[in-house]
């Protein structure tokens, strides 16, 4: 019970947001609305899985949203050329893998600070995405029937993939030597090196994994909306906020997938309700930013005395 104190705290916050929503506009909580709005949660959720691993090693990936845009454009190009659905999906995922692998190699092998690497690729990937789009289709590409059927058809592919990946990531983190290695890197990289943990390999792997997730998220987004260079725009704010609010320490060495999931839920419900009720596109960003700061303060003042509990 004590071990999950912070998770219960988050659950409390989610209840508070929902209670406020129920008070101000009960329609928001109806199942029709919630189901329809939930279509946006999967992309956020997918990206946070990789981001949790990265932040646990005291790293960061600012480029997730831009990578998602680049993947979406490459998917769009393939659909525009009428390639088979399988090829489109593979091209999109391969773009994500490549984007992640570039981040990973620079961080792991060249040992550049992840903040710098991913700030650079944050600009680069979005630039490539926009450039590629305006040089070719010059407009968003409507999702092909095949891609639409894959994501929005009767079979909940993205939801099942998300559940499976969540379980797999949680087990990897909590029950395997790889997971212990990631915590060790975040906790004390020097010590981890001396205990023979393959630091470079693990780091390369988690950034690449995050890139792959960006590819998946891009498929989901493009099927719902359109394949466009603006996919994932400012999504990194929500992703990092969800992970940090979920209890993962930005200094590394601490964090759990369970917390991240609650962070995702909190960010999602808050964002959706602010958008829903106040109808001001700019207010949402302010609220998410405020929530992030509040959560960090809350974490520090409520839970910092007892670092062993999480």
């Amino acid at each position: 019970m004590k071990k999950f104190a912070y998770e219960f705290f988050l659950l409390g916050l989610i209840c508070v947001v929902l209670a406020i929503a129920a008070f101000l506009d009960p329609l928001f909580l109806s199942s029709d609305v919630q189901i329809e709005l939930s279509s946006e949660i999967w992309e956020l959720g997918l990206l946070t899985l990789g981001m949790t691993l990265i932040i646990i090693t005291a790293g960061i990936d600012l480029s997730v949203g831009s990578a998602m845009g680049l993947c979406s454009v490459s998917l769009g190009l393939c659909m525009h050329a009428n390639l088979p659905t399988g090829v489109c999906v593979l091209a999109c995922l391969a773009t994500g893998l490549a984007a992640g692998a570039l981040n990973g190699s620079l961080v792991a092998f060249i040992k550049v600070h992840p903040l710098l690497v991913t700030l650079a690729t944050y600009g680069m990937y979005r630039g490539f995405a926009e450039g590629l789009q305006s040089a070719t289709t010059n407009a968003p590409v409507d999702a092909s029937e095949g891609i639409k059927a894959l994501v929005t058809g009767n079979f909940p592919l993205i939801q099942i993939l998300f559940t499976a990946l969540t379980a797999w990531t949680a087990i990897l983190l909590g029950r395997t030597a790889t997971g212990r290695g990631l915590y060790a890197i975040g906790h004390n990289e020097e010590a981890a090196r001396f205990s023979g943990i393959p630091i470079a390999k693990l780091k390369f792997w988690i950034y690449t994994y995050t890139g792959l997730l960006a590819g998946l998220a891009a498929i989901s987004y493009s099927a719902r909306r359109s394949a466009t260079a603006e996919a994932g725009l400012v999504l990194e704010l929500d992703v990092i906020a969800a992970v940090v609010i979920g209890g993962t320490s930005i200094y590394g060495g601490r964090g759990r997938i369970a917390g991240t999931l609650l962070g995702v839920l909190l960010i999602h419900e808050t964002r959706q309700f602010v958008d829903w009720y106040w109808q001001r596109s700019e207010l949402t960003l302010i609220v998410i930013g405020t929530l992030l700061i509040l959560a960090v303060l809350g974490h520090r003042f409520l839970f910092a005395q007892d670092p062993d509990t999480h």
Binding site: L13, L27, N138, P140, S226, T228, W278, S281
Partner: protein, 342 residues
């Protein structure tokens, strides 16, 4: 345990403070209250928020909503000209059960699915400023015919460059490549340009609804085409972007800029000499007419097949097919630009 309660209390307090603040300032827009059934809730969606053009449309829309006491107006849009964000907003409005959605479409194809779903849910969908696909809406509130706008701009340019014998290279700075209105105007511009054989259209650029990008595209054109005599800026942000590029290149008087934008935005360039004539329509009236039309269509007063319609202070407006026409273009020059404030 105590700490938990106090922190949750703090959090609630913060949310409520943000909430009340937002609500207070929001009173003008109003949020849909489903309890009141005889009110018509109109959601007005611009291509983007925060540029002078759409802000002045919104002012006119609010005037109309104030005059019609059974109308509740919501004005919200994306902060960049994004069709995806527009689709997201349309979906939310459908779930909230607004009565009318009036859209200035960034991309007819991307919006199509959301608009169809809204219509299926019994919401009246109309377009204004930039049209969607015809089957996705009932009426389009058109600022002026595409032909009047397109040939109006070309005639203005030719006239300002010296009449029927005007000669030299000209270029177009458009906006988003998928916007139906700009594409329609360009078609008519090209047709009209054929009657001025000495004007050569050398380039067309699509910087999006982005003044900085329009500025950069214009700089590139000025460098690339030494014989460039005129630039058309055919969106409200492309036009000042192009004029600023001419000014900073020191080409005032050598390269003339004309196009569509608000008189307030263009006034410095008209005074400075980069621009002789600004082409536009009354944007406040466009917002005003859109809200009047939305209310009339929803209440059944205005039906498919009508040929005219009375919109408050604007009086009778013509309807051609499924397009409600605002009227003619206005020309702003050094002489009259000070008389307009929008």
């Amino acid at each position: 345990m105590n700490k938990w309660f106090s922190s949750i209390g703090l959090f609630v307090a913060c949310l409520l403070v943000i909430g009340c603040g937002g609500r207070e300032s929001d009173r003008g827009d109003g949020t849909p209250e489903n309890s009141n059934d005889d009110k018509i809730t109109i959601a007005l969606l611009p291509k983007l928020k925060g540029i002078a053009y759409f802000t002045s449309c919104a002012e006119g829309a609010q005037q109309a909503a104030d005059e019609l006491d059974n109308v509740e107006l919501i004005y919200n849009g994306p902060t960049t000209a994004s069709a995806d964000k527009q689709a997201q907003m349309i979906d939310k409005w459908r779930l909230q059960g607004v009565d009318v959605i009036a859209v200035a479409a960034n991309d007819p194809a991307v919006l199509s699915e959301s608009l169809k779903k809204a219509q299926d849910a019994g919401i009246t969908v109309i377009t204004w400023d930039a049209d969607a696909q015809a089957e996705d809406r009932s009426f389009f509130v058109n600022q002026a015919t595409a032909e009047a706008i397109g040939s109006g701009m070309v005639d203005t340019m030719a006239n300002d460059l010296g009449g029927p014998d005007a000669a030299g290279d000209v270029a177009i700075i458009s906006a988003t490549a998928t916007a139906a209105n700009q594409n329609e105007w360009m078609k008519h511009m090209k047709t009209r340009l054929a009657s001025y054989p000495n004007l050569n259209l050398v380039a067309t650029k699509f910087p999006g609804e982005d003044q900085n990008a329009a500025f950069q595209d214009s700089q590139d054109l000025i460098k690339k085409y030494p014989n460039l005599k005129g630039i058309f800026g055919i969106s409200s942000v492309s036009f000042p972007g192009a004029a600023e590029a001419v000014k900073q290149a020191g080409k005032t008087g050598e390269i003339l800029v004309t196009g569509l934008s608000t008189p307030n935005d263009m006034q410095p360039y008209v005074k400075g000499g980069e621009v002789k004539t600004v082409v536009l329509w009354n944007t406040q009236d466009l917002g005003y007419l859109t809200v009047y039309a939305a209310a009339a269509i929803r209440s059944g007063e205005l039906k498919q097949g009508a040929t005219e319609f009375t919109a408050g202070r604007l009086g009778k407006k013509l309807i051609s097919g499924d397009q409600i026409m605002l009227g003619d273009i206005l020309l702003f020059t050094k002489e009259n630009i000070d008389q307009f404030d929008f």
